[in-house]
């Protein structure tokens, strides 16, 4: 049994109750959801206006430009939290709504000071949270060292503190069932404050970071839509805080004013966003990201030991790879739009798609070359590769194609193999819009699929038991298998 399969959550389809990502109790399953829908917000505002005018109360006018709509607390199943009677009809509790109307939109954020012992400092949990996020996101040791900064920030931000508590009650699978109610209570404490901050547009870094944590929490609860809406809200908050610059082409890039901690969570959000692009290609995703090594460098050098310069370079390349994945998703979507558009003839659309695909593949190949160069540089400067003490017999990959690739991958380190697998998956992904039929064409797709198989073969020999990150390999195997299906040999019989 794989007890720490943390990337399975990326697929949202692991059903085993003992696995991370599964929320066992349906009784206490949190039902808090934030709606980041401007239309909905307008309806809410107009409803509030009509209610206010009918009661002749003095209300402050709303400009209809609140950053994010109020939080909707939907009806819960029976449980402890039901004692707090939130209505699914009124978006705000009546008292809070009246309170906000009275104080107007410029009311300063009310910050509840923490109790002296009421701070989520727990070394054990720090270890769990930091390691889990680092491993899940491939941000080696960034979260582990950032956790203290988050805790410090949480002492002056009740939203972040409660969300962090919610995280901590959830993070240890053995405690999860028993602490589910506690987790929900923390969320119910966090949400109204966050709601207030969003309504008056008085958000700080703690609120921004809390939304990313909420997105991950929703994601691990298999509430993909909620997680997605949190990510959209996070994006709006960053734009509002001017932490992101938006250029004339709709591309975003972190501004110079984005603090390292927020930058780290921005990268975490980008990585989470990629999971939704995997099988929900029609969904809205993060806008195209203008790669900015300088901004990545700011958070990496802030949180990673500066003496590990080689590690810094590697993390920079990982960020670049994630940006390429983001670009691939946008390319696929754009290609589908062009294919369906009546403005282009079939030949024209084919020509544009091929041209864009070629550019994208060129970028992906360049990224792989950079990975290889960095690894080669590292090898020249540091310790030799450590051979595994034990290896498992794995059936060799039967391909008669590109046999030299086995030797190539045998010389790679584990992390280079993992990065190469990600790179090859992105490459196959980039060919699907142009060639949507399963099979080994174009040839770059076929070669990438063979490379994935060789890479996984080597990794399985070195590390037969799943420790972490198996989810990405499964995804890679799926892409490879898709490539080996061919319309020319349906059911394995050449037609």
């Amino acid at each position: 049994m794989v007890s720490n399969c943390i990337t399975c959550a990326g697929f949202g389809i692991c059903d085993h109750p003992n696995r991370l990502g599964e929320f066992q109790s349906s009784r206490y399953s949190p039902s808090i959801e934030i709606i980041y829908d401007e239309e909905h917000l307008k309806q809410v505002n107009s409803r509030r206006h009509s209610q206010s005018s009918s009661t002749n109360s003095t209300t402050s006018s709303s400009d209809g430009h609140a950053l994010i709509s109020p939080i909707v607390l939907v009806k819960r199943p029976s449980g402890i939290i039901n004692s707090r009677r939130w209505s699914s009809e009124s978006v705000l509790p009546h008292e809070l709504s009246s309170f906000l109307d009275d104080v107007g939109p410029r009311f300063p954020l009310y910050i509840q000071l923490p109790q002296p012992d009421d701070s989520p400092f727990d070394d054990n949990m720090t270890y769990f949270l930091g390691r889990r996020l680092d491993t899940f996101l491939g941000l080696s040791e960034c979260f582990s060292s950032a956790y203290e900064s988050v805790c410090l920030l949480s002492t002056t931000n009740s939203v972040l503190r409660n969300v962090l508590f919610a995280f901590i009650t959830y993070i240890n699978s053995k405690d999860r069932t028993f602490q589910a109610a506690q987790c929900a209570i923390h969320l119910h404490d966090a949400i109204p404050s966050l709601q207030r901050a969003l309504l008056v547009q008085n958000i700080d870094d703690g609120n921004i970071i809390a939304v990313v944590l909420l997105a991950y929490l929703a994601f691990w609860w298999r509430k993909a839509t909620s997680a997605k809406s949190h990510l959209n809200g996070f994006l709006k908050m960053l734009l509002h805080a001017k932490y992101l610059d938006l250029d004339e082409y709709g591309k975003v890039s972190p501004s110079a004013g984005m603090p390292p901690l927020v930058l780290l969570f921005w990268r975490a959000a980008v990585r989470l966003d990629q999971y939704f692009a995997f099988l929900r290609p029609e969904d809205q995703t993060m806008p195209p990201i203008k790669s900015s090594p300088e901004s990545s460098l700011r958070y990496i050098t802030h949180f990673v030991d500066r003496s590990l310069a080689e590690n810094t370079q590697w993390l920079l390349l990982m960020d670049e790879l994630e940006d390429l994945r983001n670009l691939t998703v946008h390319y696929n979507r754009r290609a589908m739009t062009v294919q369906l558009s009546s403005n282009y003839s079939t030949l024209e659309s084919e020509k544009y798609i091929r041209r864009a695909e070629a550019k994208l593949i060129q970028k992906i190949e360049r990224s792989l070359s950079n990975l290889l160069l960095t690894e080669a540089d590292h090898k020249n400067r540091s310790a030799p590769i450590i051979e595994p003490v034990w290896s498992s017999p794995v059936e060799p990959f039967p391909a008669a194609y590109f046999p030299f690739l086995v030797e190539k991958y045998e010389a790679y380190s584990d992390r280079l193999i993992e990065a190469s697998i990600n790179n090859r998956v992105i490459l196959i992904h980039s060919t699907i819009a142009g060639s949507p039929i399963a099979g080994p064409t174009p040839e770059v797709r076929f070669r990438a699929a063979v490379e994935i198989c060789y890479a996984i073969l080597i990794l399985k020999r070195r590390s037969p038991f799943a420790v972490h990150g198996r989810g990405r390999f499964l995804q890679a195997l799926m892409f490879a298998g898709y490539t080996f299906c061919s319309a020319k040999c349906i059911l394995g019989i050449p037609s």
Binding site: V2, F11, R280, E395, S486, C489, I490, G492
Partner: protein, 56 residues
């Protein structure tokens, strides 16, 4: 391009191993690939809608 059934089976075998280790994701992927193998003309994303309904 020759018949790629051996390569395809190798991938299925690896997924089966992961499935036996407890990854139900792998089981779903085996199902997706079976459909793709029988109906390579159907897009990846269309198959995904059937096999991964929870993500949608």
């Amino acid at each position: 391009m020759q018949n790629l059934i051996t390569e395809f089976e190798w991938v299925q075998q690896r997924l089966s191993e992961e499935s036996e280790l407890g990854h139900s994701s792998a089981t779903k992927m085996i199902g997706l690939l079976k459909i793709a193998w029988n109906r390579p003309d159907v897009s990846f994303w269309e198959i995904g809608k059937v096999v991964f309904p929870k993500l949608r």
